[in-house]
Symmetry: C3
Subunit: 440 residues, 3 copies
């Protein structure tokens, strides 16, 4: 190589190292954190926000979320600006949250509305504006926007599944992880791992599904995966043979920048779906800080849906189905056999923030590479003053995330950004084997 | 503003920021720590110093306190100067403390008095002088002086309450906090908080006291407080109406630089005291390091004293009287209703060392500001070689801390440094409604 | 002193301070750690290495030890070089260890032998060589060499006791300490402490042994100890009177650089050994990092050996025989009375890494000083490219560590490097009272 080429390669290398360092950051002032602050984030479930303030750490900031006596939710800096007592121990009042120490009271927009120990004519209230972030409640979730347009933020994108009324929607919180949120997202962008990790224990599969199981699991063959960038993020598509050369079985996993995921199907694409029994699975990540996050999962169960199948979330005792041996001294013993636990164990094992400079990526990491490119572009967009991917400014955006799971005639099958973009506009959705447009 | 004025304001601002950083420091070589080292500090209760050495951290220094076989208390550096084994595991001997490792023995003044594994004619003992601090026992407390005059320290100030023999004195230790001692002292210098914080739960008050309770608590009105600098520190005085325009009800809270506090009255001044039933409450702080301290409380109960009333110290289970709700996930649940616990929760919530640059002080913080001025002056005095406030060099000083609690005729009522100074000289004490001089 | 002499003394002082800082270091790139990497180290007991990989930290490096399906032990870097998942959760396969995440598989020499998600013609395997260290199993122990000659390391020195077949050899692991390994070794090089520390509780000794016990323990007299540098490390020899001026009782404690120790005799030399009942005690240190190590102990019990006596290792409840008093709030209460626990308490009390610049060494520290000189020399040898002490390059070295414990005629008694060197060559061993050469 010429010196010029070497220097250019060194710059590219160094630029990639810099990207690896910036990617997992979530705090204010970091490239990662500034990008994240252009989106709405889940704070907690509405049902859990009652008559006690709750300390929440969001994107490295210590905040308190509360519901005032009139039912309005608010999100404020956790320390009272007077003498720094924690508003986690504040008192709910009709019009705001009162610090228990000296009675200073704040409304949901951080305005100081009472200072009872000050003289009647005191103007001190007028000089205080406490840290606040706008909050909206929708779909059973309290959402916030922590970015520069907080006085007039872009509209909250609604989540299609949470808007459904043709089935039962369930929401679950409380699954808190002690590592960076990108360990989780990269796992999701990398569906190739399913063949190995989730195939370690060969499960009891109904006879009619065995061929599909055998095809991938028993031979540890890679799934035929395609990764497609969409206008909401990216999706991974698997197209499997069915025996009938005119019909394929398609499964999809989708990520919406920066914290949403969706997969469909009880068995995430391994078995075909001969019936309309289908369970939409998905959720979103509450990013706590660089090394902690919480998973908020949801599911939609419609009439006739298969109700058995894989566990929704982690088993409470964090035990898998593998035998727990007496000589096993690891943190997780007998952990194999339950996919959500398998993912937890491997993601956590990568380290709080993996030192990605030590990686050796290969072809199976195409999804991970796509994710990083999307994050890189979003960070650059924000740094240069542009809206990043998946920030929409029209009223009432609805995130319709296509995660098709079913049979497709080969002449209907088209995979690519042009015909499988975001389903927000209803365009490009894959049709089912009867030619019917599939919703999600 | 002119450039000169701006520069001057910036210097003042910067000087105040520097003060805020220095105030909470307790270690050797810090301005705060050097000031603290001019005073006697409590180490432990005499009753707890028996036949086992006790590791004690004092002002960021790791020490061991012990009582030799002859009954003398000593305070030494915790690590044996020979090979650094901890003297916490040393053996009590008649004339000192023996390191369990090689038998080197030290007397209460750090002199090495035995090295049994060395040859009979060894001079090694003579070259060793282990770190030691002078210790005195008085009033049930082991005291030490850790300053530059340790060979001939200023006399130990006695504490009036602990010298009393007309009632029962109780001493209690073991209340260790995980935050800076100034969080506690500033809370005490700021009695305005009582109306809000200790009024969150309206308690069951005897009928005859209700008016006083209603006046302050139910309306969250600020108490009429005056703050007075004294020659021992500062005090806060509340003068309340009684209904009789010729008679006021007076309550006092006092701080003695740097670790003593006193309040009188079972109910700390809220209700009037129609009888002689009175309970002196007070104590002192054992400063462990920048983020830990221990409260040593005492009380004097005399004949006829009201024996109910507020709790002395923290409830063992750290539970208040408020209902504990199932959705309360905070560290302290149902914490409201017991003043000592209310104070703990709010003080701890300010942070291990509060970032005071984020404060917004107001008129209710006059007491806190006075405290900081006194600390500032004491640190400056020490830095410039002068004795700080409340270091006395006469023999046998007695800290008579006036904390009057009772009725006063308006023509007797004078509040100010001139007539309400330290009561060490018996001067300036407020008289009761019969004109009798009130002790404390 | 002249200026030149002062400057020279300052340099010597500064050079000693530097040595004290370097001595306890164990990580790669440190002088201490580079020296340690010239030796074979124990990793775990063979019996414990079964069908589950075990995370092991060795000399500050995070590794995984495993046994493949063909029975070969391997030691690899803990993180899979693909995407950094922990191989602690890998799967044992016949020919190596498979990462559970994407199935990449490594043999015991770090070669990547499978990448099942990559295309059949992928060359990615060939570009991966994972961190590995050579492993040998011998004597019930898995050993490794982590130095620069890992492709062709010097031969593993065998341990005489572990090769014995004339008695029962027991191995015990699991005693993990939270401080630097040199706290332990310096304790062993300093047998003078036995008189004080292990004499704190006077034990119930059989009548015929009382004189020896009384001589040393009851008077806290120093043992008559000699320290001798050997070609394997150093040994400490005690020569005690027996009453017969022609016969001495000799006891020996030996250290082999850098992690082996040996002592003989149930009672470590205090009582004489009138019979052939003898128990070889010894072991080795697994150095985890600068502040953690594990003790791997072994013993050889031969026919007729005394089976009572002192405990082998720590009592499980970490309680001594001394009364546990209610006012004892220390971490170890009533700790006196069991030597292994006494040693633990005092070693731990010196601090994770003692600040040796604060020491005051005396004549009883001759053994400690010898140990430091040996370490200093070994570190300098390694830094200058020479083999340090106790690295042998001949085939099949056997570490025959002379730890004689018994009676000697005065005319047989010679102590010194010339006639009590390493017993690897069978030379210089002390004879017993019948003139018979004593093995170990």
């Amino acid at each position: 190589m010429s010196d010029v080429r070497i220097a250019s390669a060194a710059r590219a290398q160094s630029s990639y190292q810099q990207l690896l360092d910036e990617l997992p950051r979530t705090g204010p002032g970091t490239r990662g954190g500034e990008m994240l602050r252009r989106y709405w984030h889940p704070v907690c479930l509405s049902a859990n926000l009652q008559d006690i303030p709750i300390a929440v750490r969001m994107l490295c900031e210590d905040l308190v979320v509360f519901r005032d006596g009139n039912g309005r939710a608010g999100l404020l800096g956790i320390r009272c600006p007077h003498r720094l007592a924690s508003l986690e121990y504040g008192q709910i009042r009709a019009d705001g949250l009162m610090c228990s120490y000296h009675g200073w009271k704040y409304d949901v927009q951080g305005r100081c509305i009472d200072t009872p120990l000050e003289p009647c004519d005191s103007k001190v209230k007028e000089n205080i504006r406490h840290l606040w972030y706008p909050v909206q409640e929708w779909g059973g979730v309290v959402w916030t926007y922590m970015g520069p347009e907080k006085e007039s933020p872009p509209p909250l994108p609604k989540i299609d599944v949470l808007a459904r009324d043709d089935g039962v929607v369930k929401l679950a919180d409380g699954d808190i992880r002690n590592y960076n949120y990108l360990n989780w997202l990269e796992n999701f962008a990398d569906m190739g791992h399913a063949t190995i990790l989730h195939g370690l224990v060969v499960r009891d599969i109904p006879d009619e599904l065995k061929p599909y199981n055998d095809y991938t699991i028993k031979n540890y063959s890679p799934l035929p995966l395609e990764h497609v960038e969409t206008d909401f993020g990216m999706k991974t598509v698997a197209v499997l043979d069915t025996g009938d050369p005119q019909v394929k079985f398609v499964n999809t996993w989708s990520l919406v920048v920066p914290v949403h995921w969706r997969f469909s199907g009880i068995r995430s694409g391994f078995p075909p779906d001969f019936t309309d029994e289908r369970q939409e699975g998905g959720g979103m990540i509450r990013i706590i800080d660089d090394t902690h996050f919480e998973l908020l999962r949801y599911s939609l169960t419609r009439k006739g849906n298969f109700t058995g199948g894989w566990l929704f979330g982690l088993p409470k005792d964090l035990k898998g189905t593998a035998e727990e041996k007496p000589n096993d001294k690891r943190r997780y013993k007998g952990w194999e056999g339950i996919p959500a636990l398998e993912d937890l164990v491997l993601q956590e094992s990568q380290g709080e923030i993996p030192d990605r400079r030590l990686e050796h990526l290969a072809t199976s990491d195409r999804g991970v590479i796509m994710l990083r490119r999307i994050w890189h572009k979003a960070m650059a967009d924000v740094a240069e003053g542009r809206d990043p991917k998946a920030v929409w400014r029209e009223a009432q955006p609805m995130l319709e995330v296509d995660t098709y799971h079913g049979h497709v005639h080969v002449n209907e099958l088209k995979i690519g950004p042009a015909n499988m973009p975001s389903s927000r506009h209803g365009a490009g959705l894959i049709r089912d084997k009867d030619g019917k447009l599939v919703f999600a």
